[in-house]
Amino acid sequence: MAGKLLRMDRRVIFVLIALATLIPLLRPIGLPIRISPEVKQVYDYIESLPPGSVFLLSLDFDPASKPELYPMAVALLNHAFKRDLRVIGMTLWVTGTGMAEKVVSGIASEHGKRRGVDYTFLGYSPGGTNVIINMGQDLAAAFPTDHYGERTADLPVMRGVTSLRQVNYVVSLAAGTPGVESWYVYGKEKYGFELGGGVTAVIAPGLYPFLDTGQINGLIGGLRGAAEYEILVGLKGKAVAGMDAQSATHFIIIGLILLCNLFYFLTPRVGSRSVGRAQNRPGSPREAGR
């Protein structure tokens, strides 16, 4: 019996996960979300910036990471525009350009901000981490024009900003490299601006050493981090809505792991488990087939 359950058709698991995602999205419970200190630190730093300070948001992700990082971008931009900061948007990922432009210009128009005066979107420039060095040396050389073809040096929003040295706060929303680490190594280290990060849940644990040493001053990790930031800015959006679904899927996975181990230990030790092990070893044809 236990052996049979261990060999359960994976489509059953797929259906369980689909239901665990769909039902909470359709009928949300709205459980309270605790604010973690690393997310609060990003919020507090933006709160501490005086109006007119320069805030650079680098949207270093592609559509694959949209569910986690797009809500962060929405929450951060809302916060920055509420605080009347000068917002500069950009991306180091070519496939994220259209998406990044839409979120920056969309949130700006909701706040009645004028393009070129209160905000700009620089777009994408090839070169990965070299773009950061180039921006640190001469911002207008890295982006002679913004995404809309206006000369960067002539934009009122860029007044007094010739390099990254004049930027007050940079937040990189990253799904990989180039991302937060690149902004630290090639940017903050040399040009001295303050840096915060927003990343997918997969890469967030890798950035905790940077947080601990103050190399980044705050970290928004995954959908959970995005939901926390939405609560901080008082704007419950897609991240908060997704947290119930995440709760349910996590619990389904925990349940599956516990069941899997229970069945594993219930399976007779010498005979069938060793046979099952050989047949179901990861990568075996039988395992792949299921």
């Binding site: 996960i17 569910p67 644990p205 601990d212 996590h250 069941l259």
Partner: protein, 212 residues
């Protein structure tokens, strides 16, 4: 002469730019800063050519698959067709997205396809967790317990049921995980420095293509 151009000249260039790049960081003189500005522009231009090389390589690999009719060659044809359509529509739209065919491809094809691929991961992770996450050894058991604590403590339902779950997950991330990651980072950094020194001094030459 050929040997000089193939081996000696790249080695000299690597040595000069490697040493100059390392020294530049510690000499913030205006001349040194101007040189860095210039080099950073060069690097971006060179990377632009690398992109062309990448596209050429992609075309070559998929052309070979189509020509030899290997299993799944149809997907290579899809790669070619999608790339050609995107390039033609992109050039036709002059790279503009707003209200153009290029924007339509981006929003309704690329965005949707990439989102779908990533969303499917959740289903496969759940299936893989059920099949493979077993306490076969002490180490696997430690990993298993840590994973369950993390999954429990990072969602509102977990914290609602056991209020201590959140702080425990936070402690795992900021103490245990940080200590392990820091060790890995130090190892990677030392390895990176050692490899850089080997490349600058011409001890590591595999980037030359393996010809002597």
């Amino acid at each position: 002469m050929i040997l000089f151009l193939r081996r000696t000249f790249p080695l000299i260039l690597t040595f000069l730019f490697g040493v100059a790049g390392a020294l530049q960081y510690y000499i913030p003189h205006p001349v040194s800063e101007a040189a860095l500005t210039e080099v950073s522009v060069w690097l971006r231009i060179i990377l632009g050519f690398a992109m062309i090389l990448g596209i050429a390589s992609l075309c070559h690999v998929h052309y070979a698959k189509i020509r030899t009719r290997v299993a799944g060659w149809g997907y290579s044809l899809v790669v070619y067709l999608s790339m050609m359509i995107t390039v033609v529509v992109g050039v036709w739209s002059r790279g503009q997205e707003e209200g153009t065919g290029f924007g339509w491809i981006y929003t309704y094809a690329l965005l949707a396809l990439q989102g779908t691929m990533f969303a499917m991961l959740g289903f496969f992770v759940a299936s893989a967790a059920f099949r493979a996450f077993r306490a076969r050894s002490k180490e696997a058991a430690v990993l298993l317990v840590a994973a369950i604590l993390m999954m429990f403590g990072r969602v509102p339902l977990g914290e609602y049921l056991i209020p201590m779950a959140g702080p425990v997950a936070g402690w795992l991330l900021s103490v245990v995980n940080t200590a392990a990651r820091r060790g890995i980072l130090i190892g990677i950094s030392l390895g990176g420095i050692a490899m850089s020194v080997k490349i600058i001094f011409g001890i590591e030459r595999s980037y030359l293509g393996g010809r002597d």
